[in-house]
């Protein structure tokens, strides 16, 4: 599952994680997921092995659906997959540090019928991480902005980018 760098010399590879997708990579590569709105990007990092995983969660629970074609879409089924892939790549669960990005509410002027999926995604991810015994090291969640998330596997630093190319490190 671990993505091997195809790069030569000091060049590194950037791995794209799509909507409802996850990937694992090791130093010196980076992982990126674009345009998180109500979706939540969860990165898990083992600082000793310098290996990181990134999951792009769309919805909190798979149990609300009859047929689950893509378990990585949901927090409850996606997070265990990510942890398993990291362990296969040599990471230790007790060393993993989580960072959370996204979970915004993009449309202001809420309607009753609308679900605050962003908040529910964040709540569910926090709950699951606690169950897995993984601590949250940093987060940039909520609000009403779209965010791109870049994970540096060499340092565990996460760069959050918003519209207008403004960036912030967490």
């Amino acid at each position: 599952m671990i993505q091997k760098s195809l790069a030569v010399n000091d060049k590194f590879q950037q791995w794209h994680v799509g909507i409802g997708d996850y990937k694992v990579a090791s130093a010196p590569d980076t992982l990126i997921t674009l345009g998180l709105g109500s979706c939540v990007g969860v990165s898990l990092y083992d600082p000793l092995r310098k290996v990181a995983g990134l999951l792009h969660v769309m919805l909190p629970e798979s149990t609300a659906f009859n047929k689950v074609t893509n378990p990585a879409k949901y927090a409850d089924t996606g997070l265990p997959l990510l942890v398993k892939a990291l362990e296969e790549a040599g990471a230790l669960r007790r060393r993993l540090e989580a960072k959370l990005v996204g979970g915004a509410q993009m449309f202001s002027g809420n309607r009753n019928s609308m679900l605050n999926i962003g908040e529910r995604n964040v709540t569910m991810v926090r709950h699951l991480l606690q169950q897995l015994g993984i601590g949250i090291k940093a987060q940039e969640v909520g609000g009403n902005v779209g965010r791109t998330m870049i994970v540096d596997t060499a340092t565990g630093i996460v760069i959050v980018r918003i519209l207008g190319n403004k960036t912030k490190e967490i």
């Binding site: 109500s38 009859n66 047929k67 019928s113």
Partner: protein
């Protein structure tokens, strides 16, 4: 469109035609709003995975204006109307009777102009569907967001309760004078509602 719904080619053609007629009606309403002639390129309708719609509009981080309205009544669904950034600025300039290039960001006034335009265009889009199917359709108030395409589109679908893999996307280009407005109507419905529309039109 839903997990258990298979769209046959025949049904797909009916739905695409519905989308095309709706987009034509929206162009007419824009013309009467502006009091000017508006040309419309032949709309292109397709059932596409969300990712393809996103790629076709410039990618996940592309800045877009997005208006979304809920449809209720005989069917239940969501209409999402997307403009690329430049088109949204041009549309605001047109509607406010300003020279093209005046608007460079969306403040409160520009946002409410866009919401209202979205309301009128999607209203016209749906009234075509309503009269073709003889269905009673009601629209909620429009909600607007201006941000990254991936963030607004996925959020609109998920917050509306639609975790669909495929959406009906109607690519529409309006032109007024030398100004072009590139936009997309996206229509999502529960499988029962889709079935209702198709049944009304296929007999």
């Amino acid at each position: 469109m839903g997990d258990n719904y298979q769209v046959t080619r025949e049904k797909l053609d009916v739905l695409k035609e519905v989308g095309n007629i709706g987009a034509g009606n929206a162009a007419t309403s824009l013309a009467s709003l502006l009091g000017l002639r508006v040309d419309i390129a032949v709309p292109r309708a397709a059932f596409l995975p969300m990712e393809e719609t996103i790629n076709d509009m410039g990618g996940m981080e592309e800045p877009v204006a997005c208006v979304q309205l809920e449809v209720e009544g005989d069917i239940k669904g969501l209409v999402i109307y997307l403009f690329d950034q430049d088109s949204s600025f041009r549309l605001v300039d047109m509607l406010l009777g300003q020279p093209a290039g005046t608007t460079t960001e969306l403040g409160d006034m520009e946002s409410s102009v866009l919401s209202e335009a979205g309301n009128i265009l999607t209203g016209a889009f749906l009234s075509a569907i309503s009269s073709m199917t003889r269905m009673d359709l009601k629209l909620s108030v429009p909600l607007l967001a201006f941000d990254m395409l991936g963030a607004v589109l996925a959020s609109a679908l998920l917050e509306g309760g639609y975790a669909e893999d495929q959406v009906l996307t109607i690519k529409t280009e309006f032109a007024q004078g030398g100004s072009r407005i590139g936009s997309r109507f996206i229509l999502v419905m529960d499988p029962e509602s889709l079935e209702k529309i198709v049944n009304r039109l296929m007999v």
